[in-house]
């Protein structure tokens, strides 16, 4: 079954022709993929350590302190290691990632009080707990994107399912579900999040679960419309007269033709997800500390206005990401415009 019919290829080609959208897509995807490898790019653990003529690979393997002359069995602190005299003996070297900081490590030994301004060591300075801002932004970006992608995925699934059922069966089912949706969507989702977060712990999965309970509603309206429209087309009628089962008609006949709103809405779902998570973290109802998060950085920035690098860097990152996603969304919308001529 082809989703890549000529029509799809045409749309993709049109999307590519909108330079702003296409480049945004490339940039954002590249950044996202890069962030997936954050541990390899931005870590206080080195790739390789040569200590006392033995090779270690701390990023990939756990080594206790004792290996490097420490007393305990807990994980070695590579930051203090690289500064220790024990290490600075002849023959020992370590190969560090390009950004040799972890988002969780507090550099309490630095001069002055946190938050520290940008320097050669810390390109964007440190936050109020003396953690490297760049690292926190990078890891935060990954969490943001993963969160919103997973959220969008779940919301899309529910939106298609519920909207599709409404549109296909119509009648009483449509009415009843519609009323239920109206009641459901009047629930203030923020309070629900807070409540659930208080009762259960505020983990990544719980947050996604709660938010996905509301995110699907928008898409279901579109899918309902698409299914209502498509079920009257002749090829669906023919499938019915040929005795094909409802499951075949829903999934093989109607659904592949009704995916346009899913794709056009996806970038905006992602933007919504990023916005939602950032807002929750800002208010303190989102992910638990010390998870790196943009919202948390923003709130720090607000509380430490004399340290502008906190707020500014986060805002710039947020703005850029949302801008890129918006360009992509606009491009997708234009490419899928049914009135554009296909030649």
């Amino acid at each position: 079954m082809a989703v890549f019919s000529k029509l799809s290829k045409d749309r993709f080609r049109r999307f590519r022709m909108i330079k702003r959208a296409w480049y945004s897509f490339i940039i954002l995807s590249a950044l996202f993929v890069l962030s997936l490898f954050a541990e390899l790019l931005c870590n206080d653990r080195p790739y390789i350590i040569s200590f006392n003529d033995k090779l270690y690979f701390p990023i990939f393997k756990f080594y206790p302190e004792k290996e490097f002359g420490g007393k305990y069995f807990t994980e070695a602190d590579y930051v203090s290691l690289r500064n220790s005299d024990l290490f600075k003996k002849e023959g020992n070297w370590m190969l560090l990632p390009p950004i040799p900081h972890s988002p969780l490590h507090s550099y309490i030994d630095l001069e002055g009080t946190p938050p520290h301004p940008p320097s050669a060591m810390h390109w964007l300075g440190t936050d109020a707990s003396a953690r490297d801002v760049f690292a926190r932004l990078l890891y935060g970006f990954r969490i943001c994107m993963l969160f919103s992608l997973i959220l969008a995925g779940i919301a899309t699934l529910f939106g298609i399912l519920i909207g599709g059922v409404q549109g296909y069966f119509g009648g009483v089912i449509d009415l009843v579900v519609q009323r239920m949706i109206e009641i459901w969507s009047s629930l203030p989702f923020l309070y629900v999040v807070i409540l659930v977060g208080t009762i259960y712990s505020r983990s990544f999965m719980i947050l996604i679960l709660v938010l996905s309970l509301f995110q699907w509603i928008g898409l279901s309206y579109y899918m309902r419309g698409e299914f209502l429209k498509i079920r009257n087309l002749n090829y669906v009628k023919v499938a019915k007269t040929m005795g094909m089962p409802s499951s075949h008609i829903l999934f093989r006949q109607i659904l592949p033709n009704g995916l346009t709103p899913v794709i056009t809405l996806l970038p905006f779902q992602i933007i919504g997800g990023i916005g939602a998570l950032t807002a929750l973290d800002f208010l303190g109802f989102g992910l638990q500390p010390p998870t790196p998060s943009w919202g948390e950085l923003l709130s720090q920035g607000l509380n430490n206005l004399f340290a502008p690098w906190l707020a500014v860097s986060t805002v710039v990152c947020l703005f850029t990401t949302l801008l890129l996603a918006t360009f992509i969304g606009e491009g997708v919308r234009e490419a899928f415009d049914p009135r554009a001529s296909t030649d």
């Binding site: 989703v3 009628k237 019915k240 040929m242 005795g243 093989r252």
Partner: protein
């Protein structure tokens, strides 16, 4: 051409499809649009039967009702003697896939996301007409039967013209080895020379596969070239039926005559005769015979509803048939 026993494949008796019109504050049904009102017809084995009428006469509604796409209000359809309607719903199992439908619009009849192979194979595999191993060859033979090359199997609908798409729809229908095909205006949106090709194809298929057709159309000339028997519909009722050649050369019902005389021919000496007035709407039907306001033979008697009378294998619903 009817070597078989003159057995009806389908026999429709007093079929009624009414659409309720709701009005008033509580949405109560004030009256009905009787799109199909006590229609009876029959299609015998290997016969091509035409159902003609102008727009709004209910012929497409009838086609859709027989296909099970609309709930009926009353009447029965016997398929090979078995009742197909239970209450107001069609029990499709009774047909056993031996009744297939083809629709008018070639552009929405094929799923744009599926290849020709997929379009044709889904029903074949689901209904176990052939196995997965055989299906490719079977589809190739179907395509050849409708005059298309087997290599079109892997193409998408958008690369085909209207006529070719209708051929694919026909292939899809005959793949199920039907006894009867209901063709709802299948050539009306095609070019004239393509219409002729499709008509020729249908005649061929009828001969080769012993196929019966219920051909719904509005083009009398086409129907004359194609069908054995004809039913003429006006405002939801059958007004005349019989052997096509006979009905069209010497129509009995004034409406049929008016229809036949309206059709332009190549003979400039015989210009079309104009039938005045317009078809009344379903909500504004005259009392008694629905054709009376336009009928030259109208009389007092026509205020009563005429019933169908049968003679010489021709049916007629009229008090004042055309005298020859």
């Amino acid at each position: 051409m009817n070597n078989k026993v003159n057995s009806p494949i389908i026999e429709v008796t007093d079929l009624q499809t009414w659409f309720p019109v709701k009005s008033g504050l509580l949405g109560r049904t004030s009256h009905y649009i009787k799109a199909v009102d006590k229609v009876s017809l029959r299609v015998n084995h290997g016969e091509i039967v035409a159902l003609v009428g102008e727009s709004g006469c209910g012929k497409s509604t009838l086609g859709n009702s027989l296909a099970g796409l609309l709930p009926i209000r009353g009447g029965q359809l016997l398929f090979r003697g078995n009742a197909a309607f239970q209450g107001n719903r069609l029990q499709r199992e009774v047909f056993q896939n031996k009744v297939q439908v083809i629709f008018q619009d070639p552009y929405s009849s094929l799923n744009p996301k599926h290849t020709v192979f997929e379009i044709l194979s889904f029903p074949l595999l689901y209904h176990k007409i052939c196995t997965r191993n055989e299906v490719s060859d079977y589809i190739a033979s179907l395509l050849e039967q409708v005059g298309m090359s087997a290599e079109y199997m892997n193409r998408y609908p958008h690369s085909f013209s209207g006529g070719q798409r209708q051929r694919i729809s026909i292939a899809r229908a005959i793949g199920m080895k039907p006894d009867l095909m209901i063709c709802d205006e299948i050539v009306s949106s095609l070019d004239v020379s393509i219409q002729a090709q499709i008509v020729e194809l249908l005649l061929e298929l009828r001969k080769k596969l012993d196929l019966a057709l219920l051909f719904i159309a509005h083009d009398l000339s086409l129907v004359r070239a194609l069908s054995d028997r004809i039913y003429v519909m006006y405002l939801g009722k059958i007004v005349e039926s019989g052997n096509t050649a006979e009905v069209l050369t010497s129509p009995s019902h004034p409406y049929t005559r008016a229809l036949v005389q309206s059709v332009p021919t190549l003979n400039r000496e015989c210009p079309p005769v104009i039938l005045q007035g317009e078809v009344p709407s379903f909500t504004n039907m005259p009392v008694g015979c629905s054709f009376q306001n336009r009928c030259p033979n109208k009389s007092e008697r026509c205020m009563n509803e005429p019933e169908i009378t049968e003679s010489n294998q021709r049916e007629l619903r009229c008090f004042h048939p055309v005298q020859i």
